[in-house]
Amino acid sequence: MHRFANPARFLRLARLIQPWTAAAMFACFGVGLYLALVASPIDYLQRDTVRIMYIHVPAAWMAMQTYAVIAVASLVSIVWRHPLADVAARAAAPIGVAFTAICLITGSLWGKPTWGTWWVWDARLTSVLVLLFIYMGYMALWSAFDDRQRAARAAAVLALVGAVNLPIIKFSVDWWNTLHQPASILRRGGPTIDPSMLKPLAVMGLAYLFFFITVLLMRMRADLAAQRLEAAAERRVMAQEVPA
């Protein structure tokens, strides 16, 4: 666990793999968008509108996955005091907000032509909106403290409490009557999406995943660099004060 606790070792590793995850991201987005928007068939019911799925569904997956990453990192931070866990959790939050916003916006655009409405307060849509608010509260809490240690502690507790929303989002369509349809992929009895549509969806899912990894590494490196600059500036101030 503490093998990667050393920020120097982490930075070396991150520098090494980041170009590869970035390349994989661009490749998957290129292939995925072509398959999703051009090469995949229309739906028997929704016709071309179904193509919104290839943007919407991976965004929804990643919105929840990013929150799971933050929750696990927060657990590691609280229990094992792993120095990189706070950095990872803090760096992941704005990416999660972006995924959640994409999910809600494309879902709204998809709802109008298929359901006949931009928005309804059913359990699935509402619980994802709550996820967006938890993300924003989490980020606000981080910047509400001057002391980084205290901010990290408070934010980690909020992240763990908010994790209760993840199963609610996932199972909202099974526990309650909702306008949103039930799960198509992770369900008993296998996916109910035709293989010709499942493949582009999987490639787009990978593209989003590589996007997440790439941007997470970039943001973690930037955060560590900013901390070092701050520490160096503090040392300079101390050094100037001592002779005087």
Binding site: P41, I42, D43, Y44, L45, Q46, V50, M53, L75, I78, V79, W80, R81, P113, T114, W115, G116, T117, V120, W121, D122, A123, L160, V161, V164, I168, W175, W176, N177, T178, L179, Q181, P182, A183, S184, R187, T192, I193, D194, S196, M197
Partner: protein, 172 residues
């Protein structure tokens, strides 16, 4: 997960924190489960025709009614504006009247959510219609070949509302 159990009197700090987080998770999970089971009815976005029977919906009470549009039930009334159809969950059925635009996906055999209230004659008068689609996605050719093979899912071709309960398929 719990290596410090033998000498639980003096747990290492990190194990103490782990136990604390575990207990907090249990408490929050339990509270959420209790809260949501109490909210069960209000969290539900719509009533199915069977819910309408069992939960005693009053005439005039504003509700959402959800189910499948029964096959061969959609017709225009003589006034040329009002749409009449039957919403079914294969066990029970409700007659609906609606004036207005219908969503593109509104058709017989597919899901619908109607917002409105029951009149005194137990006919549901809807102010708005939302189309609900199921979790199946496929190209038109695949849908055609499934229909040709006669293996189209029962959810898409519901039993007639007058029939008694058939081996019920998922009805939302």
């Amino acid at each position: 997960m719990m290596p410090g159990q033998k000498n639980s009197g003096n747990l290492k700090p990190k194990h103490q924190r782990l136990v604390l987080v575990g207990l907090a998770a249990l408490a929050i999970g339990g509270a959420a489960a209790l809260g949501f089971s109490a909210l069960q009815d209000t969290m539900t976005y719509f009533y199915s025709p069977s819910d309408v029977q069992t939960k005693g919906v009053e005439p005039g009470q504003s509700i959402r009614l959800g189910g499948l549009v029964a096959a061969n039930s959609v017709q225009r009334l003589p006034d040329g504006l009002t749409l009449a159809f039957t919403v079914t969950d294969t066990a029970n059925a409700v007659d609906v009247r609606y004036k207005g635009l219908v969503p593109d996906l509104f058709k017989e055999g597919s899901g619908v959510i109607a917002e409105g209230r029951f009149g005194p004659d137990r006919v549901f008068v809807a102010d708005s219609l939302l189309a609900k689609h199921d979790e199946n996605y496929m190209p038109p050719e695949v849908a055609d070949s499934i229909k040709r093979a006669g293996e189209w899912k029962p959810a898409a071709t519901p039993a007639q509302p007058a029939l008694p309960a058939t081996p019920a398929s998922r009805s939302n």
